[in-house]
Symmetry: C3
Subunit: 359 residues, 3 copies
């Protein structure tokens, strides 16, 4: 059961070049995403209503697509415009289309009631469109439910043990630092955590000249429904952390991660990790991309095994510790929203249900 | 649910040479097919009733087979003839045998009530045994229900889009040609379709000297239960199509395709594509074999993906277009026959049900 | 459904060296086996009760183990001893531990009620700890239910057909030899079988100087619950079989095989095959190891196919022959014990059921 009336990141803009007909499953539905000749991105259900052939195995024609089984053509809105050998087009022969928007290299799709799709409800992450922030958007596929990734990002003490030599830096992080603020929001939570006078973690060391000087490290992270993480990270010279906003001299990162359910047991994981201190050369961005992938692979090994464990024994119930308060709040928020949506009965457009020729 | 009281192609004759004990699943049942020393082909259930070991992992002995787990031997009728270390043979210890016939390189098996097996009910495709028709019988395995292949063969407009550069020739085929006859039969349908004054399709070009002269192309196709397709194809010089039967000068093909369910979701696909214009050299037959495989692989990509789509969303209902009339008729015919057979309660032989030693 | 209140072989001692955290599934439960720094072997449930991460992906610390997701530490008894960043340890946060014992290179685990674990109930196979008997303990994994392997070992006529050229020696074995004693035991059965004046089987030929002289071959085999096979094998010069115990001149083997269910459809198969006639050089042991693996692979091909056959058609019921009397008795004994245990309701320790943080 997923939240439907909201925006999900479904693709990176560079995936939709050269007329690519991209098949991607989102919330268990096969989508076809493509950029038509007009430049506009369209999202259709990737299944020809005639015999169920994939439209992504078809052919781009203008802003439409032709199924290459029997040649039936649809425009970008999903309307059938041609049946070879047949003049009359039955109105029922149409493909569902989905609202779609592009923001800062990410393609967002609305999976619920199209009438409710509100562009303003896309999370406004300005650094993604600000040329002062540099980063390389990227993608990983997870064989795990998206909430296990949300959980992972909800407790940063895992940095100490999972990412000691990559994103974390030391096991000390789990013992001496704690969230200084945990704010429960209506659509998620916000956490602030300082680590004073610490060694710079490996991913940061790789992109700064002075690799040994102690730093004050601050993370301010938001997790919001349906599964969007963004974080502001600051490294200040040790002792200057509290004054940094005013005093400068710090290095900062912006980090967004989008967990989009592919199915109940798999996830599309999009992210961008940006910095504000490199010049035109992308060396720092590329180093950070490598570091993040290295760290995410560490998460992936644990999270995908968790998924298997939960599937093997569905009766297993996790036992909370204090650090789980944010993730527990997030799951309650999400459950409440999903229940409300299901009870309103308005998650799906009134869909045309064709009768079968073979019935 | 399959039609049981009918003949299915289960093997090619060359598969049963050198004492091969062939395991092949048909309608979900494991069959053992082999040619005994007498030359006669036998078909047994491929499971020793003692402990369930496969007889196809056993040893051919004369016209019988010995299970190589504990050495129990069965004759070609499935009767147990020896239990090592035990004198008395319990009458229940026998293996089900299936009626079997050979016709024109194909081995046919009767899957229902053996008492009803009528050799005369095998479709009489004389060109398969006529030395004027040359061809190479062949086999492909499909990860798809057999009816999706039947559907594919029921609407030739797919030639235009799936097989443009192989078996079809042009997209024009879907726009300018139509069935001129659609005949509903009690056991299937018959379709006749002309394409006048057209370029010869690639598979035909490869085997004729004049590759550019326009042709009149005629296909007369029959689809009959449980899933047998056969077709007479004629290419006449453009303008002579209608007079050809009398005037000669045409090149003709005969085409049979047998869709035999392996399971509900997989199919054995046997075929032979024959011509009447090559000499003793088999160059033309081999070129046609390659062309057909090339074309069938195009179908396979679409049909196997259809199968996945239907499995992923069993609620999906196909929406018919006018061209689906033949396939819709065929499915109605088949459903009616299966229902009648199920209601008669006579699909299975009264089978010996042994009690277990471990019970 | 498995027998729980009994000892199962779960590992070989050499698997637990160098701090290895061994994950092994037994009776469907994920176990973590490891040798702590004190030298003692511990067995814990291999799942951190916090978020379900595998402890075998964690880190050995002393005699305990630390989960490397959020750093929670457990001692060898499963008690939580540290939560980084949290002072109070909830008593519910503990991992189940399992009684464990080492005997003659094999590690035994008790899967049921720990209060009932009785070391004296481990089958006393003295040759495993007797330096006069030489052998190399080994392991194979089976994709088959353990009882199919028990069945296999319960009727030695299969030696004649499955192992003709390896462990058996001739098909004659099935025709001229029979069990001379079949003793029904409360916990299994005992079978004695002679093969007089026979050629030595290939595995034996390879390790004796005179490869052609006829032998009297005697096997005395016990099968006991839950799935333990052991056998005394004697080869005497032909004609001296009956006097051997007194007269000497024979060569003897001891053979134990442990079938431990991994899941309902897979099995851990441990064994050791020992002889009393090699010196310090291990040539004979290594030859016998190779011969046994060669023979077991022959069994595996048949047994794993049996498993598939039974899964494909759960309605299939095996039909007994006379030679199945021992295996039928064994299954009755085991069924009776499992039923008694289930009805007593005492198979599982009263387990701590944590509430979820995310609930």
């Amino acid at each position: 059961m997923f939240l439907k009336n909201c925006w999900y990141v479904a693709a990176l803009d560079h995936e939709l070049t050269d007329g690519k007909l991209l098949n991607r499953t989102v919330l268990g539905e096969h989508l076809l995403l493509y950029r038509g000749e007009s430049g506009r991105v369209n999202v259709l259900n990737d299944r020809c209503p005639h015999r169920g052939a994939l439209l992504s195995q078809g052919r781009l024609e203008g802003d439409g697509v032709r199924c290459m089984y029997h040649g039936i053509k649809y425009d970008g809105s999903g309307k059938c415009t041609q049946i070879p050998g047949q003049d009359m087009i039955p109105p029922k022969l149409r493909v569902r289309s989905y609202p779609v928007l592009e923001r800062g290299h990410f393609v967002w799709v609305w999976m619920g009631d199209a009438a409710k799709a509100d562009p303003a409800s896309i999370l406004d992450l300005r650094y993604l469109e600000d040329s002062n922030w540099k980063g390389i958007p990227a993608y990983l596929h997870y064989d795990a439910n998206y909430l296990l990734i949300v959980d992972n990002l909800s407790d940063f003490s895992h940095l100490a043990f999972v990412h000691t030599k990559t994103l974390g830096g030391s096991e000390e992080y789990a013992y001496v630092s704690k969230p200084s603020v945990i704010e429960r929001l209506e659509n998620g939570f916000r956490v602030e955590r300082w680590h004073w006078d610490s060694d710079p973690p490996p991913f940061h060391q790789k992109v700064i000249p002075d690799k040994t000087a102690k730093v004050d490290r601050r993370n301010i992270a938001w997790m919001t429904v349906p599964g969007i993480f963004n974080m502001e990270t600051l490294f200040a010279p040790a002792g200057q952390g509290k004054q940094t906003a005013a005093a400068g001299g710090a290095k900062e990162y912006r980090n967004c991660q989008f967990m989009t359910p592919e199915t109940e047991r798999t996830t599309h994981f999009f992210w961008s990790y940006l910095n504000n201190f490199e010049g035109e050369d992308s060396t720092i961005s590329r180093s950070l991309l490598d570091s993040l992938i290295e760290g995410f692979m560490e998460d992936k090994a644990i999270i995908e095994r968790q998924q298997k464990t939960l599937e093997e024994d569905p009766s297993f119930q996790m036992l909370g510790i204090l650090a789980d308060a944010p993730l527990a709040h997030f799951r309650r928020v999400l459950d409440r929203l999903i229940n409300a949506e299901q009870n309103s009965g308005a998650t799906q457009p009134a869909e045309v249900r064709p009768t079968t020729a073979a019935g």
